[in-house]
């Protein structure tokens, strides 16, 4: 029963995101499927922000106070657009046999992932020791208290924790099995978005093929439901991918609206995990480069927007006298030859881990050797972000205590893996002209 409630809650969260995108016309009507793919991520950012703001303003976290503003917002959107809303059955597209096989494959894989998420309570260490611990604590306390953050020794941003808290508020109980469906939701919406982005440019079977490759990659299956559900790495990979998609849209259209939506998602990305901040910075650099090249200087103020929620959260922590211990106590500066060797060998070992990734990373680095980094502008940007983030992880492994590839690289690669799939899809089409 709880699982059904969580599914409806996920749909509601997505509806919030979708109505914001369409209500403010942040993506065009033609990009409906992309809007659907991005809707869950935006909805998560918005409800997490709502919980955070309510906590600061001492507004009780009750179902009514949380849900009704969004219900009114959605109803307002429906009323405003009542003349243009038509309930029509989707056109039945004639699919070739290969497309049907791929769709069945995708649906079977997704079903397996959701089934796995519901089979066990939360399993993976970081999920229950960090993300769901905080979700539970916030739910029990009914707000975010500096004392509880200090108790949990928590420095991570709160978006994913607050998503868990929101689910528990709707359920009126802690259920650390049903809440894992949120990981499956990120997995499903990533698949929808990935397909939509490729379908926009390429054929149906090309888009389906690469979507199948993505959803069937073992590490995505694990993070979506099997054994590693509950972590924040898949959400970060999903949001990073949305940011890149929106960046490319902005580069093509030079319009303010995708830039605004990009800023919203840069903010959400930075507020999921620490690793989201450098990704947001790298994407911002690419955006600023585009603004400078095209002399779109009037768009510069918009590029500051994404930093504001992140800075507000940091200032709030400072005002609450919460200590920053990550780089100062638990992961101090430390270099040693053995660390460096381990950093590189451990990372390479994961990159060639066929069980987790198939041949994804092998093909990616082979393509870099064959075609270089700057095949075209979009591929260059993707390579810049992917390689900068990877180098950053290597630098962290080389220079900080307590960080090593064995315990984390498999999760960290999730942050950039969707971009790598996208890169390979674009490159393959460029080279093979399918």
């Amino acid at each position: 029963m709880n699982a059904i409630v969580v599914i409806f809650t996920i749909i509601f969260i997505s509806a919030i995101g979708y109505v914001v995108i369409r209500g403010f016309d942040l993506l065009s009507a033609k990009e409906n499927l992309i809007a659907i793919g991005a809707s869950f991520g935006l909805g998560v950012g918005l409800i997490s922000a709502q919980l955070y703001v309510y906590s600061k303003l001492n507004i009780a976290w009750q179902k009514e106070s949380l849900l009704f503003p969004w219900i009114f917002f959605i109803m307002g959107f429906l009323l405003k657009n009542r003349k243009s809303i038509r309930i029509i059955l989707p056109k039945v597209i004639k699919l070739e046999f290969i497309d049907k096989i791929l769709i069945v494959g995708i649906l079977l894989t997704v079903s397996y992932v959701i089934f796995e998420a519901l089979l066990r309570p939360v399993t993976t260490w970081d999920a229950w020791a960090n993300w769901l611990l905080q979700a539970k604590v916030f739910f029990v306390e009914g707000r975010i208290l500096p004392d509880t953050l200090e108790y949990m020794d928590s420095e991570y941003p709160l978006t994913i924790n607050l998503l868990g808290t929101f689910i528990y508020i709707i359920l009126a109980q802690v259920d650390d099995t049903s809440v894992l469906l949120t990981s499956s939701a990120f997995y499903v919406f990533l698949a929808i978005l990935f397909f939509a982005v490729l379908k926009e440019r390429f054929s149906m079977h090309y888009a389906l093929l690469f979507t199948m490759l993505l959803v069937a990659t073992q590490n995505f299956v694990r993070h979506g439901g099997r054994m590693e559900a509950g972590l924040a790495d898949l959400p970060l990979g999903y949001c990073s991918f949305i940011c890149v998609v929106l960046l490319f849209k902005y580069m093509r259209t030079k319009s303010r609206k995708p830039l605004l939506l990009l800023n919203v998602f840069l903010s959400i990305t930075a507020l999921i995990k620490f690793e989201g901040l450098p990704i947001s910075i790298f994407i911002t650099l690419c955006t600023l480069s585009n603004i400078y090249t095209n002399k779109l200087y009037r768009h510069l103020p918009i590029m500051l927007l994404w930093l504001l929620p992140f800075l507000a959260w940091k200032v709030d922590r400072r005002i609450s006298h919460l200590t920053e211990t990550y780089f100062f106590i638990s992961h101090r500066f430390e270099i040693a030859m053995s660390k460096s060797i381990n950093a590189f060998t451990g990372t390479i070992k994961e990159l060639i881990n066929i069980k987790s990734w198939g041949i994804l990373w092998i093909v990616y680095f082979y393509s870099l050797l064959m075609y270089g980094i700057k095949e075209n502008k979009e591929l260059a940007i993707l390579n810049f972000i992917i390689l900068c983030q990877l180098v950053l992880y290597l630098v962290i492994y080389n220079t900080t205590a307590g960080n090593n590839p064995e315990s984390s690289i498999q999760r960290l690669l999730m942050h950039i893996a969707p971009m790598v799939f996208y890169y390979l899809a674009l490159l393959t089409q460029t080279k093979l002209k399918i």
Binding site: E116, P121, W125, W128, L132, K136, V137
Partner: protein
């Protein structure tokens, strides 16, 4: 499909408690033990070199708060800075002053031993 069948066979028939024991082993039983013999919203120091039972207890027992010490110096530091209602030792032989032993945990499947002390 084959994977799903084997997963159903291994997990579907288990109760929630059995699943948690399958995943967390004695950490799960230890947290049940602490929960049974401590009052609501109490502060407990977990004295052990084992990390898993502490972190799992911290998650499963909240709003009871668990703090960790792996030696007598850290234990004394916690006792002097926080109002500690209980101390639980897990696989550690350590002299506890000003607290009375009230319950003992002994694993049926391993040699793990835990003793729960309450403040006088």
């Amino acid at each position: 499909m084959l994977k799903s069948i084997s997963e159903i066979r291994n997990w579907a028939h288990l109760s929630d408690g059995e699943k948690r024991y399958k995943i967390f082993r004695e950490s799960y039983n230890m947290s049940l033990f602490i929960d049974k013999y401590t009052q609501d919203k109490s502060n407990v120091v977990f004295v052990s070199k084992n990390l898993m039972p502490y972190y799992f207890g911290r998650y499963s027992l909240y709003p009871k708060r668990l703090y960790r010490a792996d030696n007598i110096t850290k234990l004394k530091a916690l006792l002097s800075t926080k109002k500690i209602n209980y101390i639980v030792t897990y696989n550690m032989n350590i002299k506890i002053e000003d607290y009375n032993p009230i319950a003992t945990f002994s694993s049926k499947n391993t040699s793990d031993i835990g003793i729960l002390y309450k403040s006088k």
